[in-house]
């Protein structure tokens, strides 16, 4: 007998409802409440999507590294699955942040890509690094080794993220609008409220999508195990080699 069956995705519905509510509220605030920026006008509103996407993606990359540490210390594959999902979802959010950032750069600076901006540039380096996470996993056949090596990668890359930002910032002047400094910058109160709600909305979206992917992956793994128990080892072939933990 294998372990008892679990109900996957418990709490997913509540989380999804909360996400929908907060994202809807954030969009309403963005379009009807937040004031138009005096220099940049309407296009500045992409800031409420772009910056939360970038912050969530970076935090997700670091989270993936922390989960990978848990995997390396404890050796249980469920931590590897969590680390995988965190990095996978962060990569999607990061590509979203690059695209929205590019649109914003075109609108406010007149170019799709601006090398002189350290935040955008270091973000691209981080995306290029994490884009190798899936190819690395895919090219290791043994699942246990795949999980271990992927965790080593996640730890190293997670530590690389903050260091990379420091170095690139030192190397270039600052063009990026620094609206979010530790002291709060000079963001008007209504903009700050809208931004905070957007950030919470995007973070909740990240959590929901991670949970959804986790439960889908776990259900599939459990389904394979049950079929193997029911039909015998030979009737169910091994999972196709994949980049995801299986």
């Amino acid at each position: 007998m294998g372990p008892p069956p679990h109900i996957h995705g418990r709490g997913l519905r509540g989380l999804a409802v909360a996400t929908t509510a907060v994202v809807a509220a954030a969009l309403a605030l963005v379009f009807f409440y937040a004031p138009l920026d005096s220099d940049q006008g309407f296009v500045q509103k992409i800031f409420y999507i772009h910056v939360p996407l970038a912050i969530t993606a970076l935090c997700g990359f670091v989270l993936g590294g922390l989960l990978a540490i848990a995997h390396l210390r404890g050796g249980h594959s469920r931590w590897d699955l969590r680390s995988y999902v965190a990095i996978h979802m962060s990569l999607i959010f990061a590509v979203g942040a690059l695209i929205t950032g590019s649109i914003w750069a075109k609108a406010s600076w007149g170019h799709w890509w601006v090398w002189s901006d350290p935040t955008l540039t270091s973000f691209l380096i981080v995306v290029l690094l994490y884009a190798t996470y899936q190819p690395l996993r895919f090219s290791i056949e043994d699942p246990e080794r795949q999980a271990r090596y992927a965790s080593v990668f996640a730890v190293v890359a997670g530590a690389f993220v903050p260091m990379n930002f420091i170095v690139v910032r030192l190397a270039q002047g600052v063009v990026h609008p620094r609206v979010l400094t530790l002291t709060g910058g000079h963001l008007p109160g209504s903009m700050r409220l809208t931004f905070t709600v957007s950030l919470i909305g995007i973070a909740l979206l990240y959590a929901t999508l991670c949970k959804l992917e986790l439960s889908a992956k776990r259900s599939r793994i459990q389904l394979r195990r049950l079929r193997r128990q029911l039909l015998g080892e030979d009737a169910v072939g091994y999972a196709r080699r994949s980049a995801a933990p299986s």
Partner: protein
């Protein structure tokens, strides 16, 4: 320490007898200088352009060594032998990083004069001391990150591809510091010493990655 010395000696003797890696890196670098000459259509380069060509070429040449670093261990059972031996596993990391450092140093002893001869406009003599310090710190970065990535990549199916695509983004901060530090050195009537902040960034990068590699390396050997 004795384990490190033994593995390092083994690697250096192996390289001396087969002459596989370092000559290939040297040839690669020379060819790349020629390619840059034709691609840029310039007889001489100076300043940031020269620094970019030099650091970029050395970075890509280092990738050749990174791809080869653990191949003998994997193909001829060196990993198993090492795991059977009752020695500290970090010794392998230290020894391989030292070997890679030596390869890079030898490469630069040949490639730097060749670069001065073929492409560099201003004289190399004046900024040589500063350049040596800068390149030594950059070599530590290449050696540490290269060894770590090579140990990851050697067990993958497409190791020649996986190694560089992971190592290159990881090395971008080190490349930024090296290239920007070397730029003023290679300019006509330029500086003799690189700016302190680039040396500081490189030293910090070396330290962080050395500690990281030391922390995670054991997990790459478990079997």
């Amino acid at each position: 320490m004795r384990t490190v010395a033994a593995i390092l000696r083994k690697d250096l003797v192996l390289e001396l007898r087969t002459l596989e890696t370092v000559p290939a890196m040297v040839l690669f670098s020379l060819t790349t200088f020629v390619i840059f000459h034709f691609a840029l259509n310039r007889a001489t380069v100076a300043g940031q352009l020269a620094a970019g060509i030099l650091t970029g070429t050395l970075l890509f040449a280092a990738m050749l060594a990174v791809n080869r670093l653990f191949v003998a261990e994997r193909e001829q059972g060196g990993f198993d032998a090492f795991l059977l031996a009752p020695v500290d596993r970090s010794a392998l990391l230290v020894a391989k990083a030292l070997a890679l450092f030596v390869f890079l140093a030898v490469l630069e002893v040949i490639a730097l004069p060749a670069f001065a001869l073929l492409l560099l406009g201003p004289s190399l003599g004046r900024p040589l001391g500063g350049l040596v310090i800068l390149l030594a710190l950059a070599d530590v970065a290449l050696a540490v990150v290269g060894t770590l990535v090579s140990a990851i990549a050697v067990h993958t199916r497409a190791r020649d591809l996986i190694g560089p695509i992971i190592a290159l983004p990881l090395l971008i901060p080190a490349l930024i510091a090296t290239a920007r530090g070397a730029g003023p050195l290679l300019a006509a009537h330029g500086a003799t010493l690189p700016a302190g902040r680039w040396l500081l960034i490189l030293a910090l990068y070396d330290l962080v990655f050395a500690l990281l590699a030391y922390a995670v390396f054991d997990f790459l050997l478990e079997d």
